[in-house]
């Protein structure tokens, strides 16, 4: 049984409390910390079986019973709390992105070199049943050498403008998951990135200096070409698909929906929309990633999403940002 503390009681922090308490039998949440901890959240946590809540995340780091820390606080604190936790000898699960700056992530890497605890980054989609099945098909050699990777990733609605302004932009906030997918599904690193972007959903996003629609192509180290498309708004729901095409065939995944039911009538044959958003689509994946983290601790094996897996998509995102700004293909090596 691994005892964990969770830092950050926002949406994703609560997801982890919920999934650990109900779906991860070999872990328990001892402390939930959040600077804005209030009675309501504390009561909710208690009902889930969390022993203690606090406004001070340092209580988590100081508790000798806590073996592992889940960092679910705001992005700008990920790196510094990571380092504190590492130095306190805690295993760390850190939500993505570790940081928006490469230098800060390298500081975390340096801390890990001194204190080699387990460190996992929250790229939950690797644990989604559909993406995992595509990856398994690729890893099992079923599609041969990888030639083309295509990833569609579209949100049902844009985030608030407040969030857009601090998010780091579409490439670091949203497409970062798809950059991870491109690596995960192709089994290879990106070498060069070219980004197209447009403001088609909401002019306010453009005024904030971001784009809301983007297509990025990449040359991967194994020769494959990868392409990702993102939109901040798909009216039909959360569209999350991938296909990997290679010398022996293609593996493609579709969306999940609430049921398999199809209605045939005078208007056509209609099935359900994709599940609405990430909480619906990836709830199981959130539990599975924590199971993977806990197993790595218990078995003293490498975590399934390492700090390098956390670093590289940030670099890819920065490269995409630079590509869009400078209107040219950008090599990953320029950013590293």
């Amino acid at each position: 049984m691994v005892t964990v503390g969770i830092i950050g009681a926002g949406r994703i922090g609560k997801v982890h409390v919920e999934s650990i308490c109900t779906k991860v039998p070999n872990a328990q949440v001892k402390i939930l910390a959040d600077p804005f901890m209030n009675d309501e959240t504390a009561a909710w946590a208690k009902a889930k079986g969390v022993q203690h809540t606090t406004k001070d995340y340092k209580e988590v780091l100081a508790d000798p019973e806590i073996q592992a820390v889940l960092i679910c606080s705001s992005t700008n604190t990920h790196a510094s709390i990571s380092i504190e936790a590492i130095e306190a000898g805690k295993h760390v699960f850190c939500e993505k992105p570790i940081d928006l700056e490469v230098a800060k992530i390298k500081e975390v890497i340096a801390a890990l070199e001194k204190h080699p605890v387990k460190y996992q980054v929250g790229f939950n989609r690797r644990f989604d049943h559909n993406y995992a099945a595509v990856q398994k098909a690729v890893a099992d050699g079923k599609i041969g050498d990888v030639h083309i990777v295509k990833i569609a990733s579209r949100d049902p609605a844009p985030p608030s403008m407040d969030y857009v302004k601090v998010s780091g932009g579409i490439f670091l906030d949203m497409m970062i998951h798809d950059f991870d997918m491109a690596r995960f599904l192709s089994g290879s690193d990106a070498e060069e990135v070219y980004a197209e972007g447009a403001v088609l959903v909401d002019p306010a996003i453009g005024e904030a200096g971001d784009v809301d629609t983007a297509v990025v192509t990449m040359k991967m180290a194994n020769g494959a070409i990868a392409v990702i498309d993102n939109s901040r708004k798909a009216v039909y729901g959360y569209d999350q698909r991938a296909e990997v095409f290679g010398s022996k065939g293609m593996a493609a995944s579709g969306n999940d929906s609430a049921s398999t039911v199809q209605i045939s009538n005078e208007d056509g044959v209609t099935g359900e929309k994709p599940l609405y958003f990430f909480l619906e689509r990836y709830m199981e994946a959130y539990a599975t990633e924590i199971k993977g983290f806990v197993n790595a601790i218990e078995n003293d094996t490498e975590t399934p999403v390492t700090i390098m897996d956390g670093l590289k998509p940030v670099v890819m995102g920065l490269a995409a940002k630079k590509s869009l700004a400078e209107h040219r293909p950008v090599k990953i090596s320029e950013l590293m």
Copy 2:
């Protein structure tokens, strides 16, 4: 090149003129006969390349250049014209059903025994790409021993009440195709039939002594159980599906539609309806069945749908009718 005459210039007769002229390179239509032949039809036939049109079908039988006759006249004339054509030494393609009475079909069989020409019955669905692929999977042993056969067959709209009254009823007019499919897909004959029927679409059909909704279960000689459902009205179009389930798996066919396009929007994910009706769904099958007939003539081989294949579904239909009337399972042997 096989020279044919076509007797009957109604809808199905015209289908055969059209498909032979455009899709069957080794056949030509020399004469089209119909008691109601008029200038319009004659002009249409001429434009298609038919040399001659007439009101008198006996001209077809008397022409020594005519090698084969397609009987597309009204059902009550099928058997007698079949016998005349057989006695005239013509190969015969006869639309289904040969007759609504077993005795009359046996007269045709007797004629064939004396004059062994080629004889094919117009069960076009055997030549449909979907049903043919299911049957091939079964025949190739891909599903092992057949355990259950399910056939759904629903028309987009009921025929006119005038037609309903002379059609012989749903079992002999509509389900007869599905009885043929049950034999074709299972590779076995029916031994016993049980019919359920209801008037749910149009009370006028009930007043005419027929049902518009029917489910028939059958014991097949190979042990399989077959079930057919029919409706005279599916608002979403012509619904024509089959599945064969067996010891090694299942082969199932769906409908054809006008395109593969799917629209995803706030209402769901919507694909096209099935093709509207038999002319849309089976146009290629009509050409393929005639190719099969012409090839049997040219190669002197058995036709792909023999007179016995024509007889048995009629008996199954009569058994279903009797089952519904007497409210009990009816053995095929009771009718033969």
Copy 3:
């Protein structure tokens, strides 16, 4: 918070322990009773948070803190324990079937009339996302008047011969779920049943006096015709589909599978098989049915599957058994 005791720690009893402990926040399992309770099961239950385990189910009935009892013991004890629990003033959730004899179920009904506690029968499929969505479409009027209901239900492998011998036969053990579905999806009761059956999977099943393949057609009170097919062995997994066809269209549900991934290669385009069996397919439904039960207790409303819903499929199963034995359609009224 509703406190429950569970009687029976076999497969389904454990499913309920598991799902209540992890997925039903407003219920807790206080006692788990089983005549064969052993250390392993007791330890397992304790780890799940169950306070107490016992060999004596009467401890459950005697505990004043227990508000509701889940009866998951062997079928032949369902009715008598139901009555004891009712008389003890406990709400009852009883696994299907309540009993294989109508008279015994009527005794439970009589007990309920005297002691009106909540009583729910374990027809879990009503809570499956796919079936529930079909039913909702029907109930919402999307398909108009119901004309035809088709239910396919095939297990991946037959049960042990020991189980087959005491199961009550395919109609009462397996098809009983589908009889419930026929009522649930059509919104109507059966009036007459006709059964076909065959021994195609395993001769030993025939030697035990049962069939392993069955097709049942039914006349429903609302005029619809329903047809169910069952097989004890589908090599491709648990096949659970339904379609409801009516005056305005059709609602059809398919199987669930482990992922949406499709592999395209030289052999075709291959997707995943259906989920293997009921634990995989219906795990969520088991939690949802208990939520429904607990909500009925908390809100003092009717349970979503009443004792009459438990009785009627038994009668349908007995009618099907009689139909097969006597080789004729059997009216439900003959059995009631």
Copy 4:
């Protein structure tokens, strides 16, 4: 009835002979010309109903009965024969590409300005039922403003190396169809092109100076971003799909296959591969495009694929070639 002559009796010339003779009732092929005309081809043409065959295409242009010419000769002759035909007052249907050089296409445009006959370019995919349905959904406003267009286009096997060497390269030979699709489906012109390419299928293609795998992204004038992926070898057959994503939803088309049959067994649920190649997939589209051409002649309306529609994909292909060579995004205006 429009009388046509066909110049070029290679594969595509024969496709047009076949489809006009069997599927275009208001056109007839009078002359088929090919410098390599031989007895076999002449006999084949005669059997199809073509009156005359010749080695000299000038006979076609000189025949006063010929109203329209189909130019199906080798690409390097398209422009010059187009001009000759235009000057002879014939309507022209010219296979794609008109030429690999913009200047030569402009000469044809100049000829048309002097002699305004009908001119149609052979972008057959616009007439494919699937692409046409996507385009109709877009044109009907069903997906709102276009944001992202994705086109997958993969051949089952590379052409011969002899062909590769004279083809103009993947962008002008193969992707040219997809450039046309990007314009057709988005309803907009490309403004800028960025190309990625790789040699992953056959090193010999690389040695010939071409790539066999390519991904091109484009900025369209209406703001949309389009992306095309091409491979010279998809082992599962001809993969031809498109999706258009916009403010109100998405329209996506899939492949056609030989049947709808799905086999469920221990290995999964397997459907048929896409139809093998363009002759299988687009045979109906070839007939439909000629019907469109003939109708434009008969009704004196604009052809459905104008010479400007022929020019623009060539420019897009040249821009893609330049982009790949210079490793930068290339504006369409640089090439015009």
